[in-house]
Symmetry: C2
Subunit: 376 residues, 2 copies
């Protein structure tokens, strides 16, 4: 992945090229070996009027003639690209497939991101921060979750971001700073919301047969699940049924459970999101997510680290790339290359992401489980 | 498919619902039977700021929880959605997959469509009409193709469009009218260029096993090929190597040749396009496309009908839907449901489409071959 943050002077093509080149080099794959490619961007057309971004990047790198598909699934865009690449390989369609995601999401101050929201909802303030503020209020009401518990997610993820050279933010924030930062939508303050970021990330998926011909340090994709929302109007606002289905399917496909996980990356677009995702993954009972973060169990050095990369809150969030940036973190952790944020002996990792907002459900939720079968 | 044309008062979601509902009904498939879906739109985000269109449509129709992917590949967007649906079924991933495409492409007069073109190229006038005018000039220079031959493509396709109740244009145009219509980019006049249109189209792809449990009047997809461009800077401008590769692969996959085709839909975004595609498909030798159209061989009643639907020139062109509108026409023809434009005994059909413009090559080219194995 590229560094995440603000890349004012660089084009999306340029960012994509850096990420794809890095993935090809890391995997020991030549441009001519790539048999298909999926490029994700949530903002290319929406904000920058750019289409065919996948081909623009691959043309520069000499990856030509192959099937290339540009995909969009809001914040789950990068994970969707990976899911399609994984499917091509898992079902024997191709041996080597590229997935990458690119976005330039830093926008002029005051821009309202209406993605997945109708104009009418936008006028009501029911855009992402408003929606997640309602969810947070409901969680507080139902389970006694406190503003301090919410804020602690941001503190932890900023602490982690300091150890990640590619993260957008590399300064610690105190509980007081998070709570005292400008109120965006009560109870969510500025530092309780992830930033919009520029950046790109990429991954190569290859078959076992291809791998056996190389000496590459690869990971096994034990599960790759993509679902769309259930859109149940009367559902419990403090969790997503679609995410539950997605997570349970992933555990089943991998033959693994929450107790097997060594490292987790979740979609902490807002502090409340991480708390709910921890509950849905089974790290604690529903409603206990606030106590979980407070206990320190999900901090570096805790029993199950969540978002060691800094998550969306500190690593940053170019929506088309975030799903693959999570994979970048899992790959770093499971291959023992995560430097000062390394989780000792991490062997199994899970990445969860969701995107869009339709009838207050996600348009897409994706879960990937990665395993390192080699013992270091 | 919906009627193509101008749908000022309808949303893209509404148009998508009409097309998907029609496809489900035609296929005898219930919303709960659909296992995955691909939604194509080239304009949703670019022009309308809308994302997650696939989920917006499917939420309305009660198709929930399944993997849904929004795809973009310029004018090849609809064909890309179909290709992915076909792949899911061909490789046994799913039994029933939905592909649909939606666009609202009618734009205020004077809007410059920059899709696939950098700002610099747009400033030079090297947008689609400019690019295809250069290609037409080169074809005229190399092969003696005449303005009248080019114009005849438009006359033929407008004649066909009159017989298609869903076509955007239903008036005949004379050779003189085409030649005398306003010059857009010499030698291409207004009536030599396809319109931008609003509309949607959809298709259901199912496995042989699924089909055996229904009494549905289905067609076999004998080939589905998607490639990206070769981007050769010094190539012959009068054809596309990427299209040649795509066509040849499709013939090989289907075990069929040009002599087996009964009906063809090609991407006649401009009159010159149809002439070149006819050459590349092997209907005539390179350079003889002008003589071919003049001979009447590709008109209704001719030896091999091209664009009986009216093509992009008369049926209209919502880029996300056009690839699937071609399939709608092949399905109508091969199932003997094409009314006054029916080609007697049509059994094998081919659809070709290409999209985008990168280094003067297409970003994507797709060819589908459909066969009716039942004799009426």
């Amino acid at each position: 992945m590229t560094a995440f943050g603000r890349h004012e002077t660089r084009t999306m093509t340029d960012l994509g090229c850096e990420a794809v080149t890095g993935a090809l080099e890391d995997a020991g794959v030549a441009p001519r070996d790539v048999q298909a490619a999926y490029c994700g961007s949530a903002m290319a057309a929406l904000v920058h009027g750019e289409t065919g971004l996948g081909q623009s990047v691959l043309m520069e790198l000499g990856v030509r003639g192959i099937p290339v598909v540009n995909v969009e699934n809001a914040c789950a865009t990068g994970a969707t690209a990976l899911h399609l690449a994984w499917r091509d390989v898992a079902w024997g369609i191709h041996d080597v497939v590229l997935a990458f995601g690119v976005d330039k999401a830093v926008m002029p101050k005051g821009t309202v991101l209406k993605a997945g929201t109708t104009q009418f909802e936008a006028q009501l303030g029911d855009i992402f921060p408003g929606t997640f503020a309602l969810i947070a209020r409901r969680h507080m009401e139902s389970y006694g979750t406190t503003p301090a518990q919410l804020a602690r997610v941001s503190v932890k993820n900023h602490d982690n971001g300091m150890l990640n050279p590619l993260a957008q933010f590399n300064k610690p924030v105190s509980l007081e700073t998070v709570l005292a930062s400008p109120m965006i939508a009560e109870p969510l303050t500025l530092l309780s919301c992830c930033p919009n970021s520029d950046g790109a990330a990429a991954a190569i998926v290859c078959s076992k047969e291809w791998l056996s011909r190389s000496d590459n340090d690869a990971l096994r994709i034990a599960a790759s699940v993509l679902v769309s929302g259930d859109y149940e109007p009367l559902r419990d606002m403090t969790c997503w049924d679609s995410e539950k289905r997605c997570v349970n399917q992933a555990y089943e496909d991998a033959g693994l459970g929450v107790e097997d996980l060594d490292v987790i990356e979740v979609h902490d677009a807002f502090t409340i999101s991480e708390i709910i995702h921890c509950e849905t993954l089974g790290l604690c009972a529903p409603g206990d997510g606030g106590a979980l973060i407070e206990s320190g169990a999900t901090s570096l050095g805790g029993s199950i680290v969540v978002n060691p990369s800094g998550g969306l809150l500190a690593r940053g969030h170019p929506p088309g790339a975030s799903g693959l940036a999570q994979i970048h973190e899992l790959a770093a952790q499971l291959r023992c290359m995560a430097g000062r944020r390394q989780i000792t002996g991490a062997r199994v990792g899970l990445a969860q992401i969701m995107g869009g907002n339709k009838a207050n459900d996600a348009q897409a939720c994706a879960v990937h489980i990665l395993v390192n079968d080699v013992t270091y």
